[in-house]
């Protein structure tokens, strides 16, 4: 395969070669940018590529990956999901409230024994999946754009979260004092690399990502999702139950937000109404950087991972370099814009 490419390249004329090379550069510009960034930061601060730092980047990316994988599904359907962040917040607060240690003074439910972690996990993903199913149902049944549907459910989820925080003797306080078994389950570490512990949730996210890869690439549901995303009418004609696919995609997304919230609650250790705010924007940005196109029907798991890692790399890199926070907005904005422009260009060429 590789040899063929080289032979083909050799057979090209000078001008053709130039075009081919520039095309190659543009199509892989994100990877090139990624590597250049890493080299640059490494030169300026040699601790950037030490084990603790690498594991920090991996764990920050892992924490942001499930929500991005969820939102990617919605984007593939030419939709979006504005409710993701608030669902994460709601689930995080519910998980935290149900898993506060029994001797914690400010416990929200003083009479509640600490529930088994697995039960709370099921509750967490159930809440996420429920809101997601509502998103999907309204989108599919009333033929509304997901932007509108999730704009509404985002408000509803936030309201529910504020109400929830006022329950019992909590009075809107942040929820912390989590049970050590819960925090250990998420933040504890079974394996260390170069002397730096890797938090357990990285492995959970790895498993989830693998499952999502299979769902996207090897199942009928995954194929149907891409079919509906690129052309719902054609999918309908060829016998795909479009409505069912839309509902399931949003439900799966909600489930992944539930996972994010469940991890986030223990990872941060303190949960308030601000938890999850704007998470969806970072997740959407990660998706589009990674080539999950708003045109619909295109996207790869690998792309989503690339997008998430790139955004975290910018955060960590600029913190390492001690660059003003204001610059981060500008740099992030430019990267999203350029990445999408390149992505769209690829798409147009293919057409």
């Amino acid at each position: 395969m590789k040899i063929k490419v080289i032979e083909k390249f050799k057979a090209m004329e000078g001008r053709e070669r130039k075009a081919y090379l520039s095309e190659l550069l543009i199509n892989n510009s994100l990877y090139i940018f990624l590597i250049a960034t890493i080299i640059l930061i490494q030169c300026l601060n040699p601790r950037f590529l030490s084990w603790p730092s690498i594991i920090n980047i991996i764990s920050l990316s892992a924490a942001n990956l499930p929500i991005a994988l969820g939102i990617a599904g919605a984007i593939i359907l030419t939709g979006t999901d504005l409710s993701a962040g608030r669902i994460v917040g709601l689930v995080a607060c519910v998980s935290a409230a149900l898993l506060q240690s029994s001797n914690y003074a400010g416990k929200m439910f003083p009479n509640l024994d600490t529930l088994p972690i697995f039960v709370v996990f099921l509750i967490a993903i159930a809440i996420g999946a429920l809101v997601g199913a509502i998103n999907g149902f309204c989108t599919a049944t009333f033929h509304l754009h997901p932007f509108i549907v999730t704009l509404s459910t985002q408000l509803i989820a936030y309201g529910a979260l504020l109400l929830f925080l006022m329950i019992g003797n909590n009075n809107g306080q942040s929820l912390s004092g989590l049970d050590p078994t819960y925090t250990n389950f998420i933040k504890g570490s079974a394996i260390s690399l170069g002397g730096t512990p890797i938090p357990n949730y990285v492995w959970y996210v790895l498993v989830i990502t693998a499952i999502m890869w299979v769902v996207w690439n090897k199942t009928t549901f995954g194929k149907n999702m891409f079919a509906v995303g690129s052309n719902p009418d054609a999918a309908n004609v060829s016998g795909v139950n479009v409505k069912r696919v839309i509902i399931l995609v949003f439900m799966l997304a909600g489930l992944l937000y539930g996972v994010t919230g469940f991890i986030e609650a223990a990872r941060i250790g303190s949960n308030s109404a601000a938890t999850g705010l704007n998470y969806e924007l970072d997740a959407i940005a990660a998706c589009v950087i990674g080539g999950v196109s708003f045109v619909g029907g295109t996207g790869k798991i690998g792309g989503v991972i690339l997008g998430v890692v790139l955004l975290r790399l910018i955060f960590v890199g600029l913190t390492f370099l001690g660059i003003d926070a204001n610059m981060q907005y500008i740099i992030k904005g430019l990267i999203i814009l350029i990445a999408c422009a390149i992505d769209m260009r690829k798409y147009l060429v293919r057409r």
Partner: protein, 355 residues
């Protein structure tokens, strides 16, 4: 058929909704406007004030400005047209007087009392209308108290805290929000006051852990004073600054307790501040939330500055009762409180909290 049924159901729902609104708190006398319901400290003021107003037999209605001044001003206009008799405003925009002046104008035209609280407005705004007052803290006080706590604690335990024995304490500071006066003052005065105490005792001033950062702080980019932001930063910083490298951050100062909690969580994950024999980095916050008090009790955090939510709610309900009583003036019965000279501003004192 189905569609008609749906429409009828929807109409019924709306009618029943408006009916319950009439029977409920629709005609409250006191209207309370919070800058956002998501703020932990303001939430504790809200629940205390709610119960005090109920106990005083006053009808009230709470509003969530959701961090948006336009929303809040519209809510105030609506409340006045509904017949509000007193307005309690936790203003969103503290950057300039424009929003505050507009609200004062609305209250003056309606001839009702207006009490600003928690987030400060300038003296001229308060003085421009006779039935206007402010209840809050002195913004610089939290920072000064925090700096004092930091300075005193450092001097007491200097050799333990200076992990690499270089004679300088390296610190990290988490700022809650850009452009907010409380955040600016806390950031500025905590370090200044601590340095003042250190230098008076012949020690070197604090040094920001990263000399290339000229700001001397890391800020929550969403302006939410959130534990998540502090947690992400702290994790990232600990990746390059730790005891193994001999450049560990030796002191953590946070604008509020949420950020302190996030920092402690990251320190714990990296094996610090776990009690027992583990290395403990002193962490300081502001607010004295329940969570922070527990952390202090467990030895994971050193201290915080207590904001007195009950004291603020008491002062507010006293002024509200005055506002609704025609025989009294707004400031009756505030003689034993700390009131500014020449302007109707009641100051609720902060207190140091070491647990």
């Amino acid at each position: 058929m189905k569609r008609r049924l749906f429409a009828i159901l929807l109409a019924l729902l709306l009618v029943s909704g408006s009916l319950t609104a009439c029977g409920g708190r629709g005609n409250a006398d006191v209207h309370v406007f919070y800058y956002t319901f998501s703020d932990t400290y303001v939430s504790s003021v809200r629940s205390t004030l709610d119960s005090q107003l109920t106990a005083a037999g006053l009808s009230y209605q709470d509003y969530d400005g959701n961090g948006n001044q336009t929303t809040q001003t519209e809510q105030i206009r609506t409340a006045i047209t509904k017949g509000a008799r007193a307005l309690l405003v936790n203003i969103v925009n503290t950057g300039s007087d424009d929003a505050a002046n507009e609200i004062v104008g609305l209250a003056r035209d309606a001839g009702i009392s207006l009490i600003f609280f928690n987030r400060e407005v300038s003296d001229s705004v308060i003085s421009s209308y006779d039935n206007c007052a402010f209840v809050g803290t002195r913004a610089e006080e939290a920072g000064l108290l925090q700096g004092e706590m930091v300075g005193e604690y450092l001097l007491e335990h200097y050799s333990d805290i200076d992990l690499n024995n270089d004679g300088v304490i390296s610190y990290i500071l988490f700022k809650g929000e850009e452009g907010n006066n409380e955040a600016i003052y806390r950031t500025k005065y905590s370090v200044e006051k601590a340095n003042e105490l250190l230098m008076a005792a012949g020690k070197k001033p604090l040094r920001f852990y990263d000399t290339s950062n000229s700001n001397g702080y890391l800020v929550d980019q969403n302006g939410q004073w959130s534990s998540a932001a502090a947690n992400d930063y702290m994790n990232t910083v600990l990746a390059s600054h730790n005891t193994t490298n001999g450049n560990m951050v030796e002191l953590v100062i946070c604008n509020n307790d949420s950020m302190a909690e996030g920092a402690v969580s990251a320190l714990n994950a990296a094996g610090y501040n776990k009690g027992g024999t583990s290395t403990t980095i002193p962490v300081f916050g502001v607010d004295a939330t329940e969570a922070a008090k527990t952390l202090i009790k467990d030895g994971k955090m050193v201290g915080t500055v207590q904001q007195d939510a009950t004291g603020m709610a008491q002062a507010l309900s006293l002024l509200t009762a005055n506002a609704l009583d025609d025989t009294k003036t707004l400031m009756d019965g505030t003689g034993d409180m700390a009131v500014d000279e020449n302007v109707r501003k009641i100051r609720i004192p902060y207190a140091k909290y070491f647990g």
